[in-house]
């Protein structure tokens, strides 16, 4: 009964080609470091570069700090908004969306202007980078936690815990947090993949992070950049694949990213 859908197939094939061709080309390119044979030479060269290990470890540390701070900040806030001050929800939501309004380059410009002169000279401290990354994670973390809390009966859980004598700390860490595991994982993975590849903030704040390293290699080498792009893409895939595995359903919404 269905007629053969010509136009839809055409768009899908064109879209698929456009999606896949750069990925295939990059993969192919990354395997051709030795003339005439396909091999992992470029990957070996990247992995043996001491700077790769250093910058990767640095970005990894930044990502972990960012995720921890972001969770510690956002969970109590969103919980509190749900429980006590729902009227502040639009304001909180608005603030979490601000990182989409402020381009990264403007963001870092403002940070440098504010924190490179007394009274607060923070540009020499990685705390500033983590703080900025936490702000970048707001939209993803907020949505993840908000969706997670909506699925819970926050008030009943809280009252049940209180009537058993729990204080706020116990409620947050032993009642709310465990119930939000899945939601937090999706927020955390997304934050992880953003921090790992971030260029602008790390570059202008002059930190030896993975993004600037990729950029450097991209300027000086031929095949290694392709290998790096594949590694970085694999990280993104892994994060987003894990999100979809853990949090079926609402992941699609949280994935919409800002400009880079």
């Amino acid at each position: 009964m269905k007629k053969v859908a010509f136009w839809p197939w055409l768009w899908v094939v064109l879209g698929g080609l456009y999606f896949l061709l750069p990925l295939y080309a990059t993969l192919d390119f990354s395997l051709r470091a030795k003339r005439g044979v396909l091999g992992l030479t470029a990957y070996a060269s990247v992995l043996h570069n001491p700077k790769f290990v250093q910058t990767f470890a640095f970005s990894l540390r930044m990502a972990v700090f960012t995720i921890v701070v972001s969770i510690l900040l956002m969970v109590p806030t969103v919980y509190w908004v749900h429980l006590r001050v729902p009227r502040l929800r639009p304001m909180v939501e608005f603030v979490t969306l601000l990182p989409f309004v402020v381009p990264a380059i403007v963001h870092v410009f403002g940070l440098i202007k504010t924190y490179s002169q007394p009274p607060l000279v923070l540009v020499v401290s990685p705390a500033l980078l983590v703080g900025a990354y936490v702000v970048l994670s707001f939209p993803y973390m907020y949505r993840a936690i908000d969706t997670g809390l909506r699925a819970l009966d926050v008030r009943t859980l809280t009252e049940a815990a209180q009537s058993l004598g729990a204080g706020w700390g116990t409620i947050l860490f032993r009642v709310i947090l465990p119930n939000l595991r899945v939601a937090l994982l999706s927020g955390a993975f997304l934050t992880f993949s953003i921090v790992m590849g971030e260029l602008t903030l790390a570059l202008y704040l002059a930190w030896p992070a993975f993004g600037p390293f990729m950029y450097q290699i991209g300027q000086n080498r031929a095949y290694e950049p392709a290998a790096l792009a594949i590694i970085s893409l694999a990280l993104t895939w892994l994060s987003i694949g894990l999100i979809q595995l853990f949090g079926r359903g609402h992941a699609g919404q949280a994935q919409i990213a800002g400009a880079k």
Binding site: P8, W9, W11, V12, G15, G16, Y18, L21, P22, T26, D28, S30, L73, T77, W80, R84, V85, L88, V92, V95, L97, P99, V102, P103, I105, V106, V108, F109, G110, I112, T114, Y115, G131, V135, S193, I194, G197, E198, L199, T200, G211, M214, Y215, G218, A222, P225, A226, L228, A229, S232, L233, T236, I240, A251, G252, I256, A257, G258, A259, K260
Partner: protein, 299 residues
């Protein structure tokens, strides 16, 4: 005794938090303080700085100086590239969203494209630039295949990845997946009854789209295109990694101002940033407004 009861009642009221003056809003202070410290105040200080001269006196000179030709050129280039990628990405993303939701294709096509869109719309920055260099750079795969198999040297024919069209092509990689991700749910929201009603009244498929579906979706389509515009306008990492500094985009110019004070006036740099935020705020505001118009129908 009665005082104790009163205190208890008050405590209960505070805990329920519904009536009277309560202090529960204090609980969100850490969040707002954090946002102010790491985002709002730094950006606000740029705004202040753009209305001051280097000595700290108030002035509008910086805003006026934005009218210099090379600054206008930077804005204009950013605007053109954002317009082109928003239009092309928007139209193509919509067609793709239409194909995977309404096109009668197998389900795996749909879920595959939506997952892929999620990745691709996040796949911006350095890795994207590197991927396009491997694809369409001077020694890229597609360039080489076109040369050896079809005998077409695109670089002889005026194509260059490191110019306007090359960068646009690269931006499209994260632009149209974003359109796809936002439009697919909207297209899903079109009610079957509308189509049936239109067909019962004798409408052809084309007429249904022209008079029913597109008018409902139009605000959402336009709104999302505006969002794409802002998305491209604020992008810096991709352009920087692809072209170094050779394309005079607003974001690149701000980057050069940060590292080398190319404008020879820090406050003019702040004004440049202010201009960007204004454009972004307007485009995201418009998006929200237009999206609301459509969502009234699609509930």
């Amino acid at each position: 005794m009665s005082q104790l009861v009163q205190v208890e009642a008050q405590t209960a009221r505070m805990q329920v938090g519904r009536r009277g003056w309560d202090w529960s809003w204090l609980g969100v202070i850490p969040f707002f303080a954090f946002a102010v410290a790491f985002l709002i105040w730094p950006c606000f200080s740029l705004v202040l700085g753009s209305f001051q001269d280097p000595q700290g006196h108030w002035t509008l000179a910086n805003i006026r100086d934005l009218g210099q030709p090379f600054i206008l050129e930077a804005y204009w280039l950013s605007i053109r590239i954002s317009l082109v990628t928003a239009l092309v990405g928007g139209i193509f993303g919509f067609l793709l969203a239409y194909a995977v939701t309404q096109g009668g294709l197998p389900r795996f096509v749909r879920s595959g494209f939506l997952s892929f869109g999620g990745v691709a719309s996040n796949f911006a920055g350095v890795p994207l630039a590197l991927a396009f260099i491997a694809t369409l750079g001077r020694t890229g795969l597609v360039t080489a295949v076109l040369k050896t198999v079809f005998g077409i040297n695109i670089y002889d024919r005026g194509f260059n990845l490191y110019t306007f069209w090359g960068l646009s092509l690269t931006y499209l990689y994260f632009q149209f997946p974003l359109m796809l991700l936002i439009m697919a749910p909207a297209l899903d929201g079109l009610k079957r009854e509308w189509r049936e009603a239109a067909e019962n009244l004798g409408a052809t498929s084309g007429e249904y789209w022209r008079y029913v579906a597109l008018p409902i979706l139009m605000p959402s389509i336009l709104g999302t295109m505006v969002l794409l515009f802002g998305n491209a306008f604020g992008a810096q990492a991709t352009a920087f990694a692809l072209t170094g500094g050779s394309l005079n985009l607003t974001t690149i110019l701000i980057g050069q101002q940060i590292t080398g004070d190319v404008l020879h006036n820090p406050n003019l740099g702040y004004a440049l940033a202010l201009g960007m935020v204004v454009v972004m705020a307007v485009s995201i505001g418009l998006y929200t407004l237009l999206q609301r118009t459509t969502s009234k129908w699609l509930r």
